[in-house]
Symmetry: C2
Subunit: 382 residues, 2 copies
C-alpha cells in the first residue's frame, strides 16, 4: 500500500523538494493532492507529471479546470481548508509558509490524517490546540525541519524519561559575528545572505534575527513534550550537527548530515526508514574537518529569550509573536524599517497585547491578525 | 529484581569503574562474584565492602579463605573458568585484560548468562565462535567500550537494513602527527602519553600503533554483523564523538560524551536506560568548542589495514594477531625492541602463521600461544 500524500505549498522550496522525494519513492509514495498559491504555472507542471485528484490555487481559473476535467479544484481562502477535508489520502504534507498553514493542519488532524509539518506557524501559534487534536484523533505529526528531525532521530530507541535536555543547533544567521552595535548597520542585502542554508527571504531574515530559532524552541516544546528549561540552543556555524538530545547519564545522541532538506522530508514521509535513493547526499566529515560550538548570548539575540518566555506562558502568545514578526519582517523587506527595528516592533507589539490562557483556534487567528495590524499601526504612528 | 553481576578483572581500570557504577545503582545492580589477578589487597577491599558470594585470585591464599568463610573461592587457571559456571548470577562483566578473557566469556555464554564485554580479545580472536554460542544460548552481549557503545546507542530505534556504514572514531594516539620517518624516534615514554584517555600501558601502546583501532574494527564486525567494507575509521583527536552510524539516506547518528568509561559501562549494565547518578559527567560542547575530523592514512597506520584484511579472512587469524601483538608490545614495554619494530614483528609472525578457516576454541588458544612464542623466537634469532 502506497502512502497517499496531500501536499500544500507545492511550489515553494520545501514543496519542490517534497516532489523530488515522491519521484524517488514511487513504490511507496503517491501524490493525490496539491496546492500552490498564485503559481499556476507550477501547478500545471505538477498536474502534467503526477496523477493528482485534488488541486488548489488561490484564484479560480477556468482554463485549468477545463484542461484537467478529472481533477477536483479548490480555490480561495476556504478552499485551502476544504481540500484537506477530502477522505482518500493518508498524510498531509504542510509546506505552506505563514500562519495560513495553521487551520489546514488542524482540519487535517480532525480528518484523522497524519501530518508531515514544515509550517512553523502551526505549532508556534497553536501548539496546545494541535497536541490536543492529535491525541483526540490518535494521529501522528512528523516535523519537516532539520533541527526537529534531528531530535526525533536522536530520540529513537531511547527512553523519554532519560532525556536531560534537547540541544538545538543554530548557525547564528547572517549576523552571527555582529555585536549589538554593529547591527545598526545591518542592511537588507546582508541580512539575506545566510551562511549555510539557501532559503526564502522571510525565513532567512528570521534566521538573521534568530526569531526562527526562538520559534524552533517553541515547536520543540510542543513536538517533544519537554519544558522550556530542558531546551537549549547552541551556536554551530557549520550546520552539520542538526541538533542533539542529552540523556541523564551524560550521553549525547546527535544527528548529522549535509544541509539538505530532502533528508528531514524523507524521514517524515518514510519514518522510520532511512531509504537509499537518488536524493541521498553523503557527508564526509573529514572534508568539513571542523565543527564549532559556541554559547548563545541571549542578550545579543533577545528574540530567542522572548520566545522562551512567551512559550512558557503559552496561550495565544505564540500567535501574537508570529503575527508581530511576520509584519515587522515584511516592513524590513520593504525597506520601511531598519534591521534592529524588527525586534523593537515585536517587543512593542507584545507589550500592548492582551494575553489569553486558553484560546480557541479562532482566538489564535484573531490574535495573529491583531499583532500584524498593530505593527502597522505602530509604524504608521512612528 | 536486581541484576546479579559477576565481575572479572575487578582491580583493573574498567573493573574499578564498574564497582563505581554498582555503588551508584544499588537498587538495580548486585555484585555476587568478583575476580582479581594478583592484587589480593584489592580483593580484600571488595570483600569488605560488597556482600560477594564468589571470589577469584590467581594464587591460593589460606588467610583470605579463612577470613571470609561465606565466600566460595576459586584459584589458578581453571578457577577463572569455573567461577563463571556458577548458577546464581545474571550477567558476566568481563573486564579482564588479554586473551585470558576469551574462555570465561565463552563458558559464561554456554552457562546462559548475558555478557558485558570489555575484554577485546574475546571478539578479536573468537568472534565467530562467540556469535554462534550467543545464538545457540539466546543470550545478549553488550560492549563496554566507548566506540562500540556509541555505535550501539546510535543504532537504537533505526532499522538495521538502513545502515550504510559504521564510522569508528580514533584519537590517533600519542603519535598521530608523526610521519613514518618520525616514528623511528618514537620512544617508550612518549608512546605512553595518550592524548585523551588515561588507560593501562598495554592499551596505550595499542593506541599509539592503532592496533587497538584495528581490533575495534574486528570487534565491530562481530558485534554488529556488518561486512568490513561497511566499517570505516576516521581520526577525531578530541575523542568527544565516540563513533557514528551512517544510514542510507545520508543521515548520521552519533554518540558524544566526555571521555569517561563509566558511560559505556552504565549503558551495558543498565541497557537501554540512560540513568542519572553521581557518576554522570555532562559535556559542554561550547567548552570543547572544536571537533576535528581527518582521514585515516592506512599507509601511516598499517596495522589497521592488516586487521581489516585478517578480519575479512576470519578463522584463527585474529588469535594470531592478538598473540603477536601481545608479545611484540611486551618486548617494546621491556625496552627490547623499538616502536616501529612492534609492527615488523607482527607482520613477520603473521607471514609464518598457518591459517585455519574453521578453528575450535582450543585452536584459538593454541594459535594465540604460537604467535606469542613465534615473536619471541624471531626476536631471539634477530
Amino acid at each position: 500500500m502506497k502512502k497517499r500524500l496531500l501536499l500544500l505549498g507545492a511550489s515553494g522550496s520545501i514543496g519542490k523538494q517534497t516532489l523530488d522525494v515522491i519521484r524517488c519513492h514511487q513504490e511507496e509514495l503517491e501524490l493525490v493532492g496539491v496546492s500552490v498559491g498564485n503559481n499556476v504555472g507550477a501547478l500545471v507542471d505538477i498536474l502534467n507529471e503526477f496523477d493528482v485528484k485534488y488541486a488548489y490555487c488561490i484564484n479560480q481559473d477556468d482554463i485549468i479546470t477545463t484542461k484537467y476535467p478529472n481533477v477536483k479544484f479548490f480555490f480561495g481562502d476556504q478552499g485551502l481548508i476544504d481540500i484537506v477535508k477530502v477522505e482518500d489520502y493518508d498524510m498531509l504534507v504542510n509546506a505552506l509558509v505563514g500562519f495560513v498553514g495553521f487551520m489546514p493542519t488542524l482540519e487535517a488532524i480532525n480528518n484523522k490524517k497524519d501530518i508531515a509539518l514544515a509550517n512553523k506557524e502551526t505549532l508556534v501559534a497553536g501548539g496546545d490546540i494541535i497536541n490536543e487534536a492529535l491525541q483526540e484523533n490518535n494521529v501522528k505529526l512528523f516535523p519537516i525541519d532539520s533541527e526537529h528531525s534531528a531530535i526525533l532521530q536522536s530520540m529513537q530507541g531511547h527512553r523519554f524519561e532519560d532525556i536531560r535536555r534537547l540541544i538545538i543547533t543554530a548557525s547564528g544567521g547572517a549576523f552571527r559575528d555582529y555585536s549589538r552595535a554593529d547591527l545598526v548597520n545591518a542592511d537588507l542585502e546582508k541580512a539575506l545572505q545566510h551562511p549555510v542554508w539557501n532559503m526564502g527571504a522571510k525565513i532567512t531574515i528570521d534566521s538573521s534575527t534568530m526569531m526562527n530559532k526562538g520559534f524552533e524552541v517553541i515547536e520543540a516544546h510542543h513536538l517533544f513534550h519537554l519544558p522550556y528549561d530542558k531546551i537549549d540552543v547552541v551556536i554551530h556555524p557549520q550546520s552539520i550537527v542538526h541538533s542533539m538530545v542529552e540523556y541523564n547519564d551524560g550521553s549525547i545522541i546527535a544527528q548529522l548530515g549535509c544541509p539538505d532538506m530532502h533528508l528531514p522530508i524523507k524521514y517524515a514521509l518514510l519514518y522510520p526508514k532511512h531509504s537509499l535513493d537518488f536524493c541521498s547526499q553523503y557527508l564526509d566529515l573529514t572534508e568539513v574537518a571542523n565543527l564549532q560550538f559556541m554559547k548563545l548570548d541571549y542578550n545579543r539575540f533577545p528574540l530567542v529569550r522572548l520566545a522562551k518566555e512567551l512559550g512558557t506562558f503559552g496561550g495565544n502568545s505564540g500567535a501574537f509573536l508570529n503575527g508581530a514578526n511576520d509584519e515587522a519582517v515584511s516592513l524590513f523587506l520593504n525597506n520601511k524599517i531598519s534591521f534592529v527595528e524588527i525586534e523593537e516592533y515585536i517587543f512593542n507589539t507584545l507589550k500592548d497585547a492582551h494575553f489569553k490562557q486558553k484560546p480557541t483556534a479562532e482566538d489564535l487567528v484573531s490574535s495573529h491578525k491583531w499583532a500584524m495590524e498593530h505593527v502597522d499601526y505602530l509604524w504608521a504612528n512612528s
